[in-house]
Amino acid sequence: MDMNFTPEEIAFRDEVRGFLKDKLPEALAAKVKGGKRLLKGDYELWHTRLNERGWLAWHWPVDHGGTGWTPIEKHIFEEECVAAGAPRVVPFGLNMLGPVLIKFGSDEQRAHYLPRILNGDDWWCQGYSEPGSGSDLASLKTKAVRDGDHYLVNGQKTWTTLGHFADWIFCLVRTDSDCKPQQGISFLLIDMKTPGITVRPIVTLDGEHEVNEVFFEDVRVPVGNLVGEENKGWTYAKYLLTYERTGIAGVAFAKNGLAHLKQVAARQMKGRKPLAQDPLFASRVAQVEIDLMAMETFNLRTVSAAQHGGVPGVESSMLKIKGTEIRQEITDLLRRALGPYAAPFVPEGLDEGYNEPPIGPDYANPVASQYFNMRKVSIYGGSNEIQKNIVAKMMLGL
């Protein structure tokens, strides 16, 4: 048993910290940590900085631009980025499409798309979910019918994150309906400028626009945009869904959230004393802190097992469940910490350049919205119910 990083790993961590200190603009980090809205340019700036350093595609194979980091190094890098307040790297091109193209794409596709992903020339979005599909992804209905050297695509995708910024979308489409749902699915790359595509914003319960519906009406897609073989798309999709799940626990996000919660509780007053000293509230905070400490070790055990050649199985699902529970509990306690000042709804206050004085304490504005927004983490990426089904199946084998 050895719970410490090696000197090499500590040196690596310091290198990452140095990079973040140099290259992550303070104003941007403050925006991220303060729960402000990010602009397209904010994402692009950070994407470029990482690419310049060669750390953008750290999970790709080395000969395609990856870093060759060990699981522990990858873990350190992810944790440090979040801790420093770096914007997330939009994952669709880099973490999702990239690995699929590397494994299943043609040489031409790899040569064309991969450098453009790294350069940030193409903003990708994901066309998986459809209305009514939920966690049953294979029930998708969007059809692609071969018509000469094109596919004619008709249907609808939904929950398309940042689709309103995207140049391209990778889609799962049905190319054969006379078979099991998982068969007959193909993986297509579609230019968002193609005629027949309409993007409609979905406003979420917190009043924000991050996701979209995408409609396809007789959209003509060149057959060259098919990845791999026709009707084999489900295999590629599954590969993508299991790729790189080490960050799934969201430990660093939770740690940021907990630190913020403790600051807020120290500043909020209850009966003329800091709320942090209230026995009941303190016990609730302590409870989630204990859970988080344990989960951090649980996560490290999984990372360390990967370092020693293990393949995470049910651990990913378990970490997803516990990680989302903890993050939701933290935003819930934040909301409760505010008391009456959780109520004001001033969405314009989340924009850069808003200059009015805050209503209530300066940290209050995003809190309730974040609490509601955070409901999504136990729904998307395979709901917690689905994760429990997966673990149960492995465990009970019934």
Binding site: R272, A342, P344, R375, S383, E385
Partner: protein
């Protein structure tokens, strides 16, 4: 013992229910909530005409109800439509205080309140007070026969639209002393009052109100000088009962929407409702709603009992409603999945209202602590 509504209340409930179904569909509600003013003057007038405000006030002041079960009946129906009109601040808090403690001329105003012509707000909480009812620093000093008020009031419901506000201020005592508080009735266009209105997360409106050298006459004082605390506590007590009942209505709708969703939405080829895990979670939700309903009924029935009995029942109800409303809000979103996260769909707006009710008049933990203290004292 009889837990059925009286005929009068049943009729009121039915007419209100019909009215809201006809005129206050979800899309209308969202449009109203998103409008500049944040509520509809027209619908407000119609609600008044239906007797909704009068039902919450006793006959002595021109109403035709005013008991706990009246408040409960009306508010539960309003909760079923997540009505954003300022019923709580005007009819329950503002008018309730005037009916309870107002002078004859102040009570005379209630006619206009009942008819929907006069909007009220209760400007009590302050930036530092959190859920304490006595932590008031707003000062009122007597100068040349006038009272001059200075202070700041936080998250005043309907504070921006109210014609008159009831302001709590300290006329003696230290900062969180229950003694020394006095209530004043003040026109919102009085000199020295500035208001910053804003929308709230649950579709309502509130305001930060600053009072700077606001001068009012002796006739602005409500009730006895320095002895407002019991009046405030009773007003907040009625507010607690009102929002508990409102939450019951909203929880019922959220539960029914979820139930229907589970029955109709299929995944992996079967209705979601066939999954035993979701079945049991629905049962747990229903059970907590029944518990919350029971606690609210108990509180409504104890509104006229001695202080300790009444307040213990109110704190119990608010605690149980706080917990069950959180459960219902979170679980009904979770069981809906993505669609439960969208602005267009009604459910999350019910969830938001349910959540924000926890931030009114003390959250579940506040009332747990308060119940423990009341229970130990008794």
């Amino acid at each position: 013992m009889d837990f059925n509504l009286t005929d009068d209340r049943r009729m009121l409930k039915e007419s209100l229910s019909r009215f809201l179904q006809d005129r206050y569909g979800f899309e209308t509600r969202n449009e109203i909530a998103g409008s500049e003013q944040g509520f509809s003057r027209e619908l407000w007038a119609q609600m008044a005409e239906l007797g909704l405000i009068g039902a919450m006030l006793p006959e002595e002041v021109g109403g035709f109800g005013g008991e706990g079960f009246d408040v409960m009946t009306v508010m539960e129906e309003l909760g079923r439509a997540i009505v954003v009109e300022p019923v709580l601040p005007t009819a329950v808090l503002g008018a309730g205080i005037l009916a309870e403690a107002g002078s004859d001329s102040q009570k005379g105003l209630l006619e206009k309140v009942i008819s929907g012509e006069l909007l009220l707000a209760f400007a009590h909480g302050e930036p530092q007070s959190r859920y304490s009812l006595s932590d008031i620093t707003c000062q009122a000093e007597r100068t040349n026969g006038d009272w001059v008020l200075d202070g700041q009031k936080a998250v005043v419901l309907n504070g921006d639209a109210a014609d008159k506000i009831i302001v709590s201020a300290r006329t003696s005592g230290t900062d969180d002393d229950e003694d020394g508080l006095t209530l004043f009735l003040i026109d919102t266009d009085a000199k020295g009052i500035s208001r910053r209105g804003y929308a709230t997360v649950d579709g309502g409106r509130a305001a930060e109100i600053t009072l700077e050298d606001v001068a009012v006459g002796e006739d602005a004082v409500i009730g006895e000088l320095g002895k407002a605390f019991p009046v405030i506590e009773e007003a907040i007590g009625r507010g607690i009962l009102a929002v508990c009942a409102e939450a019951l209505g909203a929880m019922d709708v959220a539960k029914d929407m979820t139930l229907e969703f589970l029955q109709t939405r299929k995944q992996f080829g079967v209705p979601l409702g066939k999954f035993q895990v979701l079945q049991h979670r629905m049962v747990e939700m229903c059970l907590e709603i029944e518990q919350a309903r029971s606690a609210t009924i108990l509180a409504a029935g104890r509104m006229k009992e001695d202080r300790a009995t009444r307040e213990a029942a109110l704190s119990a109800a608010k605690n149980l409603v706080g917990r069950s409303a959180r459960l219902v809000a979170e679980e009904s979103i979770q069981m809906h999945g993505g669609i439960g996260m969208t602005w267009e769909y009604a459910l999350p707006h019910f969830a938001k209202r349910l959540t924000m009710i926890d931030h009114l008049f003390g959250d579940a933990d506040h009332h747990l602590e308060r119940f423990a203290a009341l229970s130990q004292a008794s």
